[in-house]
Subunit: 334 residues, 2 copies
């Protein structure tokens, strides 16, 4: 009765199956609502995280409730995107086929970690092919150049006051099943790295990784939350909007440096880490503090850092660090 | 091998089937990337249009090519959203279940019209239930109060110059099958209405529909295309971004009238028509001319109109007309 794909090369409807290690694997087509130099693909990855956790943890993440009956959201705490040498999520376009393998790891009752591996499937690939799943050692120690990797660390939260997006509290739904999930070796936990980023305001460690020269320090821009774009379906600042807000701030810094918009569009993101520390109300103004470093041995590589806070209270909202490779900016930058 | 839904109430993976009249029907869950006071749901509807045309017209719309081998896009020319008395797409939120029935009508080799009906399914609904399809008479003459309706009229276009989003030309892919599609009675064709909107700059006809008093006439705002948000995966101004750009302009007018942001979020859209007349390059500045009318017999109802043009050339890009019901603005508006 339901429609299968008319041919394995069509994939208008994604194929989804479970691999031997409990991962969820998808074969799908990149559609208009999932790509571009915007935050749509990031939003799609987030939905894959919620889909996968729903699939393996016995909880419908889209309609979950805490013990007291309040809506509970599997909020994003850490979002780490690692493009591959030959697969850049930003470059995905209409009609591209993608294989996405997603595996969920247990972190107790309040949190969950999801790893995604993205790659272009072989022509004619179909459900059940290459059923080996996703080994965290590959993810953390031996990434493949033809794959992009994404890590999501999520926590169950609820509003503590109706109508306010501040002071969100942890609130796991009673039916959330996590005891059966595989666990990650401690050295792969994002807690240490996120804790350090929170404390220092950056994922970059100048002492631990020499060879980067400071370029811009503490350039500040303000951003009033855009109520026509930034709120999600439950009135919270949408996790994907943080990416757009950051891109907008980084574009302001880019222009401040006299660089052309075209080259901003042509940038290549090599690594993107974002730690969410708080949410904000619809009438908030955000303050974004930007700093950059340039690689001493290759002036085409930069680290961009952003700290987002609530202007009124100073409350930290996010820390974000990107590594980028620039194209064609030398004439404007020296 | 592939995962079905573990229960008919889950719908993590949409159920999709074909009804007796050739419509495509979906049962699905509203996810984070498909809802909110933003343009995500509009983008999702657009993907359903492309999915449905791909399904019934023998063409993979996401990777289509004209006779000369250039990429061909099934561009949006007309987007009409008609919420139902008890179903407002703007109010959809995480976890809501939706039944979407989509039917494609033939308009020759270069164009295609897709009608969507949205409604909340009965609890426990599953594939094959209520297989009556979608009658255009219901859509145009007897809409149901528990359903929302969307009409998309699309045309095959290509770039005429590499790297430019201006002067797009019609360019249908050779494999596009349309001869078998049902046709609409002439009185339902969007061509007449869009032609009039293009000529007059509005879908509202003050002479034909008395009872509306002009309020604002020709309030202009400018909008530089936002390269961090507005471009789609092939570098064109994304059709859903027009909705966001319009909302942003209407919010400026709203504030200009001294109205509070909270009430803008609380507005109810009763009808939304958008005719796309052109695309724009990434470095364009748009000029948006806004006008409003207020219902003489009910001051809570307004018509909002927008004409978007390219500031540099004056080229028209879109005409948009909304009917809205306002809440709680009387104190600020008199």
């Amino acid at each position: 009765m339901t429609l299968a794909n008319t041919s394995p090369d069509r994939l208008i409807h994604p194929l989804v199956w479970r691999t031997g290690d409990g991962s969820i694997r998808r074969l799908l087509t990149i559609k208009s609502g999932m790509c571009g130099r915007n935050s749509l693909f990031v939003g799609q990855i987030g939905d894959w995280t919620w889909d996968t956790v729903s699939e393996v943890c016995g909880t419908d993440v889209y309609r979950a409730f805490g013990p007291g009956g309040q809506p509970s959201y599997l909020s994003f705490y850490y979002f780490h995107i690692r493009p591959g040498l030959t697969l850049h999520p930003d470059a995905l376009t209409f009609g591209d086929r993608l294989e996405v393998t997603s595996r969920v790891f247990g972190f107790g009752s309040q949190s969950v970690l999801t790893l995604h591996r993205l790659r272009r499937p072989e022509p004619g690939a179909s459900a059940g092919d290459g059923d080996a799943g996703l080994d965290p050692d590959e993810f953390f120690l031996a990434p493949r150049p033809d794959c992009a990797y994404v890590q999501n660390f999520n926590r169950w939260i609820s509003r503590s006051h109706a109508g306010s997006n501040e002071e969100l509290v942890t609130n796991s739904p009673p039916g959330f099943e996590y005891g059966h999930l595989p666990t990650l070796p401690e050295q792969f936990s994002p807690r240490l790295e996120c804790g350090r980023a929170r404390a220092t305001g950056t994922f970059h460690d100048p002492a631990g990784e020499p060879g980067w020269d400071p370029r811009v320090t503490g350039y500040e821009v303000e951003y009033p939350v855009d109520i026509t774009r930034d709120l999600n379906g439950v009135g919270l600042l949408y996790f994907a909007s943080y990416f757009s807000i950051l891109d907008g701030a980084l574009l302001k810094l880019w222009r401040h440096q006299g660089r052309p918009d075209r080259a901003f569009l042509d940038r290549t993101v090599l690594d993107h880490k974002l730690c969410y520390l708080g949410n904000a109300d619809f009438d908030s103004v955000l303050r974004i503090r930007l700093s950059t470093w340039r690689r001493a041995s290759d002036h085409g590589q930069e680290i961009w850092n952003a700290e987002i806070s609530d202007r009124a209270s100073g409350r930290p909202l996010a820390v974000c660090t990107l590594r980028v490779r620039l194209e064609g900016t030398d004439d404007h930058d020296h």
